[in-house]
């Protein structure tokens, strides 16, 4: 249990719960907000436990939610999660090639996180941008009609953004 919570303190988690409203129907938005606030795009067991306590839920029910919905992770991910759509329209638009571009550019495989904890590559189901496939989704942003140049540029932009923040 020593590995946890460098990212979020209990007060922060409780504050999020309070802001969103400590009722059961707010569980998803609470967990999504915690995940975002973590900076590592995940929900640690301890944070989930505090949520469970505040909402009066067994931890096993919170865990069910965390493992059911695709947007959650219980393991730390990169600061930016690059989600490449591999549903049919993007598949037809050659998303496989885009996967190759990203894996080459970042030097990691799908599902992995870069050593600097900046990027995680993963697949996603359709994000509703089929007219500009193949697409990658990063946070709230969707980038379409991807080419090798665009991919390199996107990664560059996020790298620079991150270094500015630091």
């Amino acid at each position: 249990m020593k590995d946890f919570m460098n990212e979020l303190r209990k007060e922060q988690v409780l504050k999020i719960i309070k802001e969103k409203g400590a009722t059961k129907e707010n569980l998803l938005t609470i967990l999504l907000t915690i995940q975002e606030a973590s900076g590592r795009n995940y929900v640690h067991r301890e944070w989930a436990k505090w949520v469970a306590e505040e909402l009066g839920l067994p931890l096993s029910k919170v865990y069910d939610v965390l493992t059911f919905y695709a947007m959650f992770s219980t393991k730390p991910r990169g600061k930016y999660v690059l989600e490449i759509c591999h549903s049919a329209p993007c598949h037809v638009a050659k998303s496989a090639a885009v996967v190759q571009m990203f894996t080459e550019e970042l030097g990691i495989k799908m599902g992995e996180t870069t050593a600097d904890n900046l990027f995680t590559l993963q697949y996603t189901s359709c994000v509703g941008a089929c007219d500009i496939g193949p697409v990658v989704k990063i946070g709230e942003k969707v980038y379409g009609n991807l080419t090798r140049d665009k991919v390199a540029q996107i990664i560059q932009t996020y790298r620079e953004g991150a270094s500015c923040l630091n």
């Binding site: 067991r45 989930a48 067994p58 931890l59 096993s60 029910k61 919170v62 865990y63 069910d64 493992t67 059911f68 219980t74």
Partner: protein, 581 residues
């Protein structure tokens, strides 16, 4: 609600496989078919649990419906023409079975549920020999790190019955569904071990598992080993609820009373002495009645909560530690027995305590954990060495080649052989309360109790209550069975809204007769039969009040009063810890 009440009185006429049948509105196809004499196969369905309709084996044809309908949850509608065994239905069921089996280990011989497995039975009925689908073996780790329950998720068929009992009935919330699609399954939170979860080891999940995914920790080998060790004096105690359930393992009707044969079997297995946990149940009543009267008199922490059910103790320690002061300090009868066996009995029989090996036959999986608790060593040794469930005892009897039905009736050994009817009903929800009331009444009122039957606290209702007049003082009592019901009362206490003085709580629905170690496949109706038999034994008993058990009095006279008070207390009483999850 009103609407439901209205439809309840209505009748519906349908045809099933050409047979006309009239049933109350709201009856499921499964139930209606059963009444018409047609069995529909099920796997995820359990008659005592809400339908989940996920295995899809109970599919039937309903004329006019494009899709096949699940019989377990679909109510019949007026005029339905239902076919339960058409070629299409059989083909669909067979394919679904093949799909389930393609995701299941193929090594039935190695499974504890071999020949007692609902999936195996169905596979046999549908004559599944070759599976056309690719069979993929999973390689999930087996969890056997706690003393009570073993989980083998490789065998799980994802029926969800265990989740229903753990989440809804027991409200323990230790296990739940998790993940989705291929990874969908049953899990604790964050895959933690049961020991680290809120699990109480009540074993209700085990009793409803249709396959070998959940089982008790098999301790029979340790018992065989002890029996084969000439150095050891192996004694056994049997809990009250075992005697009315063991017969089911040998094809007898639920509720068959098998006390004599069970004792005979245990003697033939090689136990030096066969004792009755009922003896220490009577002792528990003496101690607990005193505690109640003292708390009433001294305005101590009320309500007083009973402490015989180890699953319940785990529950309050993990979920409501702030209320632990309400729990009686009395050890459970099994642990009082262990403590006395290695002290009082050791003295009496002139056998060194370290040579005495105490085995308990319990209807319970939580007892396996209870006996390993570090504080249960008041004799200087682990007071109870091994706990076997009713099912494990049956296994040993089968292994030893005994013809159970042909066994003679034998009797319990002294000095722990005498007991009262009050002790017998410990095995039923409300029984401890009733036994305590019989004793408390006579102690307080100083006169003989005429009507011994406290019927208000009997039966399978989740929460029962009564008010008893104890020489002018009205004492309010309540009885809860099943941890979900216990939770309701605990919340009341927490909120300061509890009017009761004394509450009996049993972790398992129905009490010990419905324990996690009892024979598989029992429904509520079967449990009712077990219950009736315990009350029948009580009714026929010569002694029906714990304080009339002279053997117990003798233990006080010969032993407990002669030892230091503090030591006597330690033998019979215990303490609890905050184990908040």
């Amino acid at each position: 609600m009103q609407k439901m009440a209205k439809t309840k009185n209505k009748l519906v006429t349908v045809t099933i496989n050409g047979e006309q049948i009239t049933v109350p509105a709201g009856t499921t196809i499964l139930e209606a078919a059963k009444q018409a004499g047609f069995k529909i196969p099920t796997l995820c369905h359990h008659p005592d649990l809400k339908p989940r309709a996920t295995c899809r084996l109970c599919l039937v044809e309903v004329k006019g419906q494009r899709r096949l309908q699940t019989a377990c949850n679909t109510p019949v509608r007026e005029g339905n023409e239902i076919i339960t065994n058409s070629a299409e239905v059989r083909e669909a069921r067979k394919t679904i079975l093949e799909l389930i089996l393609a995701d299941h280990p193929q090594d039935c011989l190695k499974c504890s549920r071999n020949q007692n497995c609902e999936l195996q039975k169905l596979a046999d009925e549908y004559q599944i020999r070759e599976n056309p689908f690719v069979v993929s073996a999973k390689n999930l780790p087996l969890e056997d790190s706690n003393p009570a329950i073993v989980r083998d998720m490789n065998k799980c068929v994802k029926c969800g019955r265990c989740v229903e009992v753990c989440q809804e009935i027991q409200q323990v919330g230790a296990i739940n569904t998790a993940n989705r699609s291929l990874a969908y399954g049953i899990s604790t939170a964050f895959e933690e071990e049961l020991a680290d979860s809120t699990c109480t080891y009540c074993g209700q999940c085990v009793t409803v598992c249709p396959v070998g995914a959940l089982k008790e920790k098999d301790d029979t080998a340790r018992v065989w080993q002890a029996l084969n060790n000439p150095e050891l004096h192996v004694v056994v105690q049997t809990a009250p609820a075992v005697r009315v359930a063991l017969g089911e393992e040998f094809g007898q009707k639920p509720g068959s009373i098998t006390t004599g044969k069970m004792i005979a079997a245990l003697k033939r297995l090689g136990f030096a002495k066969v004792f009755d946990t009922n003896f220490t149940a009577d002792l528990t009543i003496i101690e607990e009645s005193r505690e109640l009267l003292k708390r009433l008199k001294d305005k101590g922490d009320l309500p007083l909560l009973t402490s015989c059910s180890p699953g319940w103790i785990n529950f309050i320690e993990k979920m409501y530690p702030e209320l632990l002061k309400h729990v009686s300090t009395c050890k459970s009868p099994q642990q009082m027995f262990g403590a006395l066996a290695k002290t009082y009995y050791a003295d009496k029989a002139q056998i060194p305590a370290e040579k005495i090996f105490v085995v308990s036959i319990m209807p319970c999986t939580a007892k396996k954990y209870e006996c390993t608790r570090p504080e249960m060593k008041s004799s200087g040794y682990q007071d109870v060495d091994v706990v076997l469930t009713t099912r494990e005892l049956a296994q040993m009897i089968k292994q030893s080649g005994l013809d159970f039905a042909a066994l003679p009736e034998a009797e319990y050994d002294e000095p722990f052989g005498v007991s009262t009817g009050a002790a017998t009903i410990f095995g039923a929800t409300g029984g401890v309360m009733e036994a305590a009331l019989r004793t408390v009444y006579e102690t307080v009122a100083g006169k003989t109790l005429e009507d011994l039957d406290f019927k208000m606290v009997r039966g399978l209702d989740g929460i029962k209550e009564a008010t008893v007049d104890l020489a002018g003082k009205k004492v309010k009592v309540a009885v809860a069975n099943g941890l979900g019901n216990a939770k309701i009362l605990l919340e009341m206490i927490k909120a300061g809204k509890c009017k009761y003085h004394f509450i009996e709580i049993m972790a398992c629905p129905g009490g010990c007769i419905g324990g996690g170690g009892q024979p598989f496949g029992a429904t509520k109706a079967d449990k009712e039969k077990r219950l009736e038999s315990l009350y029948a034994i009580d009714k026929k008993s010569k002694l029906r009040k714990s304080h009339e058990n002279l053997a117990v009095t003798q233990v006080y006279d010969d032993f407990l009063r002669k030892t230091l008070d503090i030591y006597a207390h330690e033998l019979l009483h215990t303490y609890y810890s905050d184990r908040k999850h």
